[in-house]
């Protein structure tokens, strides 16, 4: 395995006083690799992604992402780390209906002062949109796009900051077979071209063969 970009050790997490508990003794994902995490619904796959991204903090354990232990960072430092080094793609796309496609792609730059929105960034956004085939839809709104087009917008938003890791949570869950393939092609092409690590949670077993590594979530848990 190449040197890990994600390294998890003795991770413990639970929501408040609830029954849900997560304990992962060890997980490593190599740099510039692709990994799929599979497992039943409600087992904690999305929570693991949130923990790795620093969205949520564990009660115990160590999470190193891109060489930084995110559990030791302050909230603002975690946010800055996340916006610079991690690209997130969601099953429901999570686009803002009142922003145009271009504004949605540029959203990380508009919402976090650690990133500066320059003309170079705008040009890059147009370039990426062109690569994923939505260059002619930049002025449209999400409501005017098909499901596949929306997910491509979400992918553009995730990769615009040139992250070290792209984490995708069921990125094809709402797509038809044609769009599933196309979105995955885009993610894989980008990861390969830029040397980015792709960590994906999926239920879709048809897609697993494309990943270098498949992790059964149940086996991760102690």
């Amino acid at each position: 395995m190449p040197s890990p970009v994600i390294r998890v050790r003795d991770l413990s997490f639970r929501y408040g006083e609830g029954d849900f508990r997560l304990h992962i003794p060890e997980l490593e994902v190599g740099t510039a690799s692709s990994a799929a995490i599979i497992g039943p619904s409600g087992s904690g796959k999305t929570t693991l992604l949130h923990l790795i991204a620093g969205i949520t903090l564990p009660q115990a354990g160590k999470i190193e992402t891109h060489g930084v232990d995110v559990t030791t960072l302050s909230e603002s430092a975690r946010r800055e780390f996340r916006v610079k080094h991690i690209g997130l793609v969601f099953q429901e796309f999570e686009l803002l209906e009142y922003l145009s496609v271009l504004d949605n792609v540029l959203l990380p730059y508009r919402i976090n002062s650690a990133l500066e929105l320059t003309s170079v960034v705008r040009d890059r956004a147009r370039e990426i949109a062109d690569q994923v085939g939505i260059a002619d839809k930049l002025a449209r709104y999400p409501g005017q796009l098909s499901q596949g087009e929306r997910q491509r917008v979400a992918v553009c938003r995730a990769v615009l900051t040139e992250p070290a890791v792209i984490m995708a949570d069921e990125p094809t869950g709402n797509l038809d077979p044609l769009n599933k393939g196309r979105v995955l092609d885009i993610l894989f092409d980008y990861a390969e071209a830029s040397g980015t690590t792709l960590l994906t949670v999926t239920h879709d077993h048809d897609l697993l063969e494309r990943f270098e590594r498949v992790v059964d979530f149940k086996e991760l848990l102690s």
């Binding site: 946010r79 996340r82 009142y98 508009r110 919402i111 650690a114 929105l117």
Partner: protein, 393 residues
């Protein structure tokens, strides 16, 4: 901050209908009490200005408000007339000059104000064209009347009968326009001025007809006894006073008994004013003397009381609307929880997400304040015109 405002603006622009409703509500909540206050102040000014310039008014006993509204604004129902002798009595007292007013008839919807030449001087009215009336049957138009009728000096207007079906009533009198007043932004712009004697001709107290001593009128003469000639209805009555027939016009009876609606009294000092007012205190006195400024002051007090109720109502409605807006805002926050989570996940802080939501409210609030201020400014600039139009209605 720039990016936050941009996102807030995009949200408001996308939900433009919702934004418009919110903006309208906030604008009205802010504008209504302030605008109403400005309008009431201007109304008070408009109403009191003319009243302050009219020291005393004498008229028949009855409603002082009706008397003042008729005399100053040529409005309200025709008040009970009084004898012209009352004007003569005040005049002969030597305490104050007087201006008779007889405001009863109309021509093409505009009030005919029977008065004397002194009225123009006392109200500081200037001519835009022509001259003031000097002869019976001549009239001077207020500026807006002339504009509305498209009338010029040399044209004429005809008085309207009070009752079309009263065959024994007054004849319509065709009056020559000899002058048009310059704009004064007062009720004088909307009136037609004639000599008080001309209004008596309209009323039928004075009239002109064929000379009964002439041969052409012989067939109409029923009997002739020394100075008394009786004629039948075939005699030609003049409905227009011209230089040729003006000598045929005459008044029957004692002019002192002729009617006027009021007498404007212009005492030169407080002593004369006090003496005159004292003379009308007696219970037997059939006339009343009113101070228009006091009468209008009482009217304004009533208006201000009503305004207080309206203001209180506006404040309550405003608070209720604000509470509803706050509720809608809070509900929309719940609906936008997912959006807020997305913003947080992709790198927005709770503070920046909160600032975005707050910015939307602030933008609407500031826009509402600016619009309300603009409307208040417009009210202060053009409210007087509106008030004058309302007073004319």
């Amino acid at each position: 901050m720039k990016q936050t405002l941009y996102l807030a603006w995009r949200y408001l622009a996308f939900h433009r209908f919702k934004t418009l409703i919110l903006l309208t509500s906030i604008t009205l909540i802010l504008y209504l009490p302030v605008g109403l206050r400005v309008l009431v102040n201007q109304s008070s000014e408009q109403l009191t200005q003319r009243a302050e310039a009219t020291p005393l008014v004498v008229g028949s006993k009855g409603s002082p408000l009706e008397l003042v509204l008729n005399t100053l604004y040529f409005r309200s129902d025709f008040p009970e007339p009084m004898r012209y002798a009352e004007a003569q009595k005040v005049q002969s007292s030597g305490l104050a000059p007087t201006v008779p007013m007889y405001v009863r008839y109309h021509a093409q919807g505009y009030p005919i104000v029977g008065t004397s030449f002194e009225y123009f001087d006392y109200r500081s009215l200037r001519l835009q064209s022509g001259r003031f009336f000097t002869l019976l049957g001549e009239c001077v138009l207020g500026a807006r009347v002339a504009e509305a009728l498209g009338a010029q000096v040399g044209d004429s207007v005809t008085s309207s009968p009070e009752n079309l079906f009263d065959l024994a009533g007054e004849y319509p009198l065709n009056m020559g326009i000899v002058g048009i007043l310059a704009h004064s932004d007062s009720p004088d712009d909307d009136a037609i001025f004639v000599d008080v004697k001309t209004t008596w001709v309209i009323e039928g107290l004075g009239h002109g007809h064929q000379d009964l001593t002439q041969r052409e009128a012989a067939s109409a003469v029923l009997s002739r006894e020394e100075n008394r000639v009786v004629a039948n209805a075939s005699i030609v009555q003049y409905n227009k006073i011209t230089p040729e027939n003006v000598d045929e016009f005459h008044f029957h009876g004692d002019i002192s008994d002729y009617p006027v609606t009021a007498v404007v009294v212009l005492p030169p000092d407080q002593k004369s004013s006090a003496l005159l007012q004292g003379r009308y205190q007696s219970a037997e006195e059939r006339a009343q003397i009113s101070r228009p400024s006091e009468v209008m002051g009482e009217l304004l007090e009533t208006i201000l009381t009503v305004e207080s109720f309206v203001l209180a109502g506006a404040v309550i409605v405003g608070l209720a609307t604000l509470a509803s807006a706050a509720l809608v805002f809070m509900l929309s926050l719940r609906l936008r929880r997912r959006e807020m989570e997305t913003l947080f996940k992709i790198g927005g802080s709770r503070a920046s997400v909160g600032a975005l939501m707050a910015s939307e409210m602030v933008v609407v609030l500031v826009a509402g304040i600016v619009l309300a201020a603009g409307l208040t400014f417009l009210t202060s600039q053009f409210g007087a015109v509106l008030v004058r139009a309302l007073i004319r209605m």
